[in-house]
């Protein structure tokens, strides 16, 4: 099983939605979504993503175990850590004004799942995720950014490109193909 972690912010919803719509049922890998959202729009996100998704989407509870074939959405207002004993949620301070922080989730996966991680950073208007995606690369994982030309807001992928070398810069369609062909 691979651990696919996707970070996104402004302008990333459609891409995430397209990815989930195109993954096959019984997908052999686990997917983690760490997406910034408006502070006061906390409900309804799972439902919105589930509408088109081909795999189940859920917000994990603290200490839940990780199961392949599910897309786990970081709950609003918590940091999401992936540990060897499953999920760990915390209410520690926001990092760069973000909770969930993409860096936090990326770091934790890099730490625990090393070269089994695929990190993907999508459209967004800040630098969250850049340091985290570098840590995934440094731990032996593969990293992808959404091609800045395709992004509604390119700040986030550009911040990653500036900080580290990237395995692939891809548009949505190629990201989908990559994930569909990913062997575990």
């Amino acid at each position: 099983m691979k651990y696919i972690v996707i970070g996104g912010s402004a302008g990333s919803f459609q891409t995430v939605s397209a990815i989930l719509a195109n993954l096959p049922k019984n997908y052999p890998h686990a997917v983690f979504l760490c997406l910034h959202r408006l502070k006061n729009v906390r409900g309804g996100f799972v439902e919105a993503l589930s509408l088109k998704s081909n795999i189940p989407v859920c917000e994990p509870f603290d200490k839940d175990q990780i199961v392949p074939g599910i897309a786990y959405l970081a709950p609003a207002n918590y940091h999401l850590y992936v540990t060897n004993d499953g999920f760990s949620l915390t209410t520690e301070e926001a990092i760069n004004h973000s909770r969930p922080s993409i860096d936090v989730t990326f770091f934790s996966l890099a730490n625990t799942k090393k070269n089994d991680v695929v990190g993907i950073l999508l459209s967004g208007a800040n630098k969250d995720g850049a340091a985290g995606i570098k840590s995934i690369l440094d731990a032996g994982g593969k990293i992808i950014v959404q091609s800045p030309d395709e992004c509604q807001v390119k700040t986030m992928p550009l911040a990653a490109i500036k900080l580290t070398s990237i395995d692939y810069s891809m548009n949505t369609k190629d990201i989908i193909d990559f994930l569909k062909n990913l062997k575990g």
Binding site: N40, F61, D62, T90
Partner: protein
């Protein structure tokens, strides 16, 4: 930065010199908090361990940095709506209501409760108890004085929790912030109005080591986003404690992404977001 053995040594030093027991904290979150302490204090792990062994006031300070102190007004409005429409109505006819906030931090949740009880007209017959391991946050909680900048982001929660009725969309109450707070944006102050202060018994209390802090049975215990920092066995111990300290049918509210797993799950009924004690 440090390895598992260093962490054991630190936990032992904290326990020997301060009596606090972190051995059943969730390993990862404890390590992360230690990392933060090392960075904040510009220390390496060995200097930290050595200083904890000999410097008690420093140890007390470190405990405050290791434990997480975030709290919000009306965090998760749907949980407050559940309290308002599903839990508290069962208690309204009692002659006295007892509520314990376990791990209350700077008290924002406690004042949320006071506001809700006042809206329901039962504040005067309710005894509110609140505890935390950190004596500094208790002082802030008791004062009811906050920074406007830090707290204003929660005012939307206040509106949804108190003014909207999820079971009747036509209902919309008007409850204004200045009924409960003296707000001064220019001085950056956000103060609980004096008539709502002094209603809470605050006490320093360590959930891990100490028993029931007030020696009574509670109708409602709130312990939200505290147990997420503990491992399963310590969580189980606390679920047993809470079960013992609750009145029959008493309610336990955890954070909305926490759940009772393990042996005690059979001794609580989960209805919506709230756990009720089964006999």
């Amino acid at each position: 930065m440090f390895n598992q053995e260093d962490i054991f040594l630190l936990i032992k030093a904290i326990k020997d010199n301060g009596g606090y027991d972190f051995s059943n904290y969730s390993e990862k979150s404890f390590a992360r908090r230690v990392e933060k302490v090392l960075i904040d204090y510009r220390l390496d792990i060995y200097s930290l361990i050595n200083r904890v062994k000999i410097d008690k006031p420093f140890l007390e300070e470190i405990i405050k940095s290791i434990t997480v102190n975030t709290t919000e007004l009306f965090r998760d409005p749907q949980a407050w709506q559940a309290l308002k429409y599903r839990v508290l109505p069962r208690l309204l006819s009692k002659s006295e209501i007892n509520i314990w906030h376990a791990g209350c931090s700077i008290g924002l949740e406690v004042y949320s409760m006071i506001i809700l009880l006042n809206e329901l007209g039962v504040l005067n017959k309710t005894k509110i108890y609140a505890t935390d391991i950190n004596s500094d946050v208790l002082k802030t909680a008791e004062s009811g004085v906050y920074s406007y900048r830090a707290v204003s982001e929660y005012l939307n929660n206040f509106n949804s929790a108190l003014c909207e009725n999820p079971y009747n969309f036509d209902e919309h109450l008007v409850i204004t912030h200045d009924q409960y707070f003296d707000i001064n944006k220019f001085k950056d102050t956000f103060k609980v109005k004096p008539e709502f202060l002094g209603k809470v018994i605050f006490k320093k209390h360590d959930l891990v080591n100490d028993k029931n802090p007030f020696d009574i049975k509670y109708d409602l215990i709130l312990c939200r986003n505290v147990l997420i920092y503990f491992n399963n066995s310590l969580q189980n111990k606390l679920f047993v404690d809470f079960w013992n300290y609750l009145q029959p049918n008493g309610a336990l509210l955890l954070g909305i992404h926490e759940s009772i797993i393990g042996p005690l799950s059979a001794k609580f009924d989960k209805k919506g977001l709230v756990y009720f004690k089964k006999l």
